[in-house]
Symmetry: none
Subunit: 140 residues, 4 copies
């Protein structure tokens, strides 16, 4: 089998996730940076909310990328591995809480990463994005 | 005078510009990468549409940054300067058509950059973003 | 609300902070690298004093950027987070003491970072910069 | 002879140059980014004036560094060499007008680079910095 059928997240899907994340963050009163990447870790959609930390642009993207790559929520790597893996990937693999893979019918089609709040706030916002596109939630 | 009053683009404004750009690109049938940056060139909002070229992620951001920095639409630099300026800024300053500054009441509060179509298509989409937020259009 | 009113630090303000930091460092007999960045972390003013460590160029800028992004003095992040956050931001987010946000009327308009002395000396010099521009001092 | 006596620019000298450049730029009504580097190309002093292009942070530093390295004003390299040299130095060597070496008693002790205006405006501002520290002016 030289090729196979696959599922892709559309920009409509990515923007729906973004909008749901923004709505949740506004409801929580916590401004956030929110990133959605595809299954190859390339950016699909992004927003930095008023008052969010601008350095969280980088960490939100790293969280989305890490979740899409590992197909797991971030923060589940063994603690003794996280610095080594970050260094070996130029900082792209992070274990900071707030990244979730986008899993649809068992296939990982991307990741959502959120940063600027506490790790728990970041994760709550990211999960709102999963719900908006009907993806599995491995953190539920 | 140690400080001065100024205007900032909100994330609501950035997302309104993004949505208007996407709508225009869909109407044209040309998928695009669209970036909105703040007055210091830091990313505020982004989307890559289905079928858009993924390397245009970089050029769309460079166009938005360049327009925000120069306070002019891109493609207006003298041709003999454009490579030197790109090299002296690590590629961040580009003269590719498709970037516009966001000017509100005479102040530059950011930039919009669009890439993946022809230069003219990119510019047309970027201008739709300006209209959505009531900014001046120096290319009209 | 597509835009909002805001405050910016002028170069006169940034240079006034720089001069006050230099004066304090000279009075202490501790040469320093001193950086002032805007609200998006872009450099506004900088000086490296005679005898200061040249690698502190980088750390002073990182401290200023970190304080501007988090809106808090540096060194207040949880210890178990600091390496992960540094790695996820390409080293731009540092928890080294000596960075302070510039808060004017409740709004963060930039940051000051100082490096080349001990953390306490760095902070003392940075605070002199805040006083010069009448900004709040969260470390007082 | 294993070592030799040399002259160094102090931070007082670098700040005097910076202040003279700012004064000239204000008199011209052209906001500028102004960088002063030492004989090794490491940043000594910097300011970005209100309204200056933020991407000129990079080019001003490149101009100062290039002038300090070549011990010549920038823009004197053969045109057919400038892109090759820029590429071979990661963009640090630029031939853009606006950089001058700081030559005192025949020794190059640093460089001044100015960017955000036209090349001629940039050079005029840089020369004001040389005058303030009594350095030779090879462009006179």
């Amino acid at each position: 089998m030289l090729t196979r059928r696959s599922t892709k997240l559309t920009h409509a899907g990515a923007l729906a996730a973004l909008a749901a994340c923004v709505a949740r963050a506004e409801a929580m009163g916590v401004p956030q940076c929110i990133a959605v990447v595809d299954a190859s870790g390339v950016l699909l959609a992004f927003v930095r909310m008023d008052g969010a930390r601008f350095l969280s642009n980088e960490s939100a993207i790293a969280k989305a990328t890490s979740a899409a790559s590992t197909r797991m929520p971030t923060s589940r790597l063994p603690v003794d591995m996280e610095v080594k893996l970050a260094l070996a990937t130029g900082g792209r693999l992070t274990n900071l809480k707030g990244g979730v893979p986008i899993i649809v019918e068992g296939e990982c089609i991307g990741g959502i990463g959120v940063g600027s709040g506490t790790g728990s706030q970041d994760l709550e916002v990211a999960r709102a994005g999963l719900a908006a596109i009907g993806a599995e939630d491995q953190t539920a």
